[in-house]
Amino acid sequence: MATDLTPRVTTELDYAGAERLTMNMGPQHPSAHGVFRAILTLEGETVVGVDAVIGYLHRCHEKLAETLAYVQYPSIASKTDYVAAMTSELAYVMAAERIAKIEVPKRAEHLRVLVAELQRVASHCLWLGTWCMDMGGALGGGATIFLYCIRERELVLDLFEKLTGARLLYGFHQVGGVRYDMPEGFAADCRQTIDLIEARLLEYEAMLEDNTFFLMRTKGVGVISRQLAEEVGISGPLLRASGVDFDLRRDAPYSSYQDFQFKVPVETDGDCLARYRVRMVEFRESIRIVRQILDGLPEGPISSRPGVKAVAQVRVPKGETYTRVEGPRGEVGCYLIADGGPKPYRMKWRGASFSNLAVLPFIIPGHSVADVVAIMGSVDPVFGEVDR
């Protein structure tokens, strides 16, 4: 089936003769996942058109990056995708390091992968909880799963707090390495936490996959065909759920991913259930990577760059590059142009959620209002990253 990719504001089905209703979903809406506005055209309960409006959370991140030094910006970069703060920090410092040809010590590289994978676990916890709440209601079983997931996410945040002192926005990565080393007893805590989360994943699966209602709500809903996935340019779990076997961690290894063994889950159905299955496997694979890191963490320094007294002392030579990392939501890219000064000349983010969101107008029409929230939840957008 050829996909129609002509640019248009509203994707509409043929007019069936019923009276139409325009409904605003968002920007203030319980399932808006932040501030997303979908202008839905309804025929009864069926959505025939969707107009996605974004930009309510725009904070001039890219301009901000031009005004901050390489030392300062990583802790601001975490605010683009505040649910997976470690990811965007990593993309930014990797870009600066690549231009300046700065070597990163092995221990720091392993710590970077450690936090990235823990972050993926925390982010997927939040996704599962909010998605189920979208489908099940804040006053129903969805809230139960949400609170279970938040309970597990808290454990990961506790680990981050031990490591960096912060729970949401970390400032952990810096050009040349990482800012903090593991405190005493961290490895043991970490092992305990991931063991617990791995055990509790079975509980979620029992609660969801054995539940006919869950399958009824997710199976065959919001199908993204392989072709549509490739043409729109979605990435991450969405892409893998549509049958494309692509994961930057394996296919374009960065940091020290080449040192670890992990599986890349692929599903071919492309529906909400497939996206759920992909993410559930990713949970386990992330935990597996964390175990491997804890087993073989090399000794040594955590940063190749000596401490500086003033932020302007860290300079990056002239050059430009694009680095990309596999965040929990997909490819997070950072395009950086340096002009030799202490601040970048230009910086551009490629937000995974932003590109993933572009698929919504193609898959929502034809579904009912209830499915709109299920589909949006399965796409897992974070609007800090969409609007930046």
Binding site: N24, G136, L139, G140, L147, N211, V369, A370
Partner: protein, 329 residues
């Protein structure tokens, strides 16, 4: 018994049941919140009074003090009267329920029919609320309400007919008395299936998760009551819980032997309330474990599954009763 005229006795009984129901409904919300909190590894209300026991009162006071907002484009009169229209049938269903032999407002000889007729009238209030709000979310919710409640009243009726046929009476007092020897839930096969059908249909008729598409806060924000605030909101809330409690009482009466239980006779009402709360907790348990299903799926479950199954159940019950009576059983 006394020299009081019947009307005065009726009035006293009516007022005391009304107050009792409102008190019970208020505290049932606390029970549900505590129960849900334990399911979700939380503590639940804890700050107001010991173990949060004064929480419902604090909630009521808060709601009374809230500003009563009426949207500018709403149909003012209908908007204001809708919560009352919704509440009245929800409270009225308690009128026929006997809390002990002879202890009730009016044990009509068509008691169960009255219960079903009145409880399905709540849809009028729902629709008035949804329509008059002049809000698109509320409108969609009102459309869903009419769909769903009509679809689930039939299976609900059928499930309730099983004990009626077994007892051979429409009078709730006699249905309860007929279970002296054997609670109808223990009646082989028919009783259990009837109970399951009753629970499913009543969850749907009460608009609770997984069938709470009227409220559907993740899509329709709060559905038909999205524009309500203050006491009007409280009335709708009260009506919903009264309805849940009413069907719990009816369930306890139809299937769990009403006031039958060990101990002296005056303990009867206590047993009855405990059994009703047990059913309430069952419904709560369902609510906090399932996710919501879609409108079309809800209608499919009703018309393609629940309705034929309950119809077959009623016919099977009737045949069983006829066979047993003809064989002198």
């Amino acid at each position: 018994m006394t020299g009081w005229p019947d009307a005065a006795l009726g009035a006293v009984a009516g007022v005391s049941v009304l107050l009792g129901v409102i008190g019970l409904v208020t505290y049932v919300t606390l029970l549900e919140r505590k129960f849900a909190a334990r399911m979700q590894s939380r503590i639940g209300p804890y700050r107001v009074g010991p173990h949060g026991l004064l929480q419902p009162i604090a909630d009521a006071v808060k709601l009374m003090m809230k500003e009563d907002v009426v949207p500018r484009n709403a149909d003012r009169r209908v908007f204001s009267i809708a919560p009352v229209v919704f509440l009245i049938p929800c409270i009225l269903i308690f009128a026929t329920i006997p809390f002990a032999p002879g202890l009730g407002v009016a044990d009509l000889n068509i008691g169960i029919l009255f219960f079903l007729a009145v409880s399905s009238m709540e849809v009028v209030g729902l629709f008035m609320a949804g329509w008059s709000s002049n809000n698109k979310y509320a409108l969609l919710s009102a459309m869903r309400a009419v769909n769903q409640i009509i679809s689930y009243d039939l299976p609900f009726l059928m499930a309730a007919l099983v004990p009626v046929i077994l007892a051979g009476s429409l009078k709730l007092g006699e249905i309860a008395a007929a279970q002296d020897a054997l609670w109808f839930i223990a009646y082989p096969v028919l009783g259990q299936l009837g109970f399951i059908a009753y629970i499913i249909a009543s969850v749907a008729a009460e608009n609770r998760v997984p069938f709470d598409i009227l409220e559907a806060e993740s899509e329709l924000v709060a559905g038909f009551r999205v524009e309500y605030s203050g006491m009007k909101f409280a009335l709708i809330q009260l009506g919903e819980y009264a309805h849940v409690l009413g069907t719990s009482f009816l369930g306890a009466l139809l299937f769990l032997g009403a006031w039958a239980g060990p101990g002296p006779e005056w303990l009867g009402p206590v047993w009855f309330i405990l059994k009703a709360l047990l059913i309430f907790l069952l419904i709560t348990w369902i609510r906090w474990s399932f996710i919501r299903i879609r409108v079309d799926q809800i209608l499919q479950i009703s018309w393609k599954l629940l309705w034929p199954v309950s119809l077959v159940l009623v016919i099977a019950t009737a045949i069983t009763v006829v066979i047993r009576s003809s064989t002198g059983g």
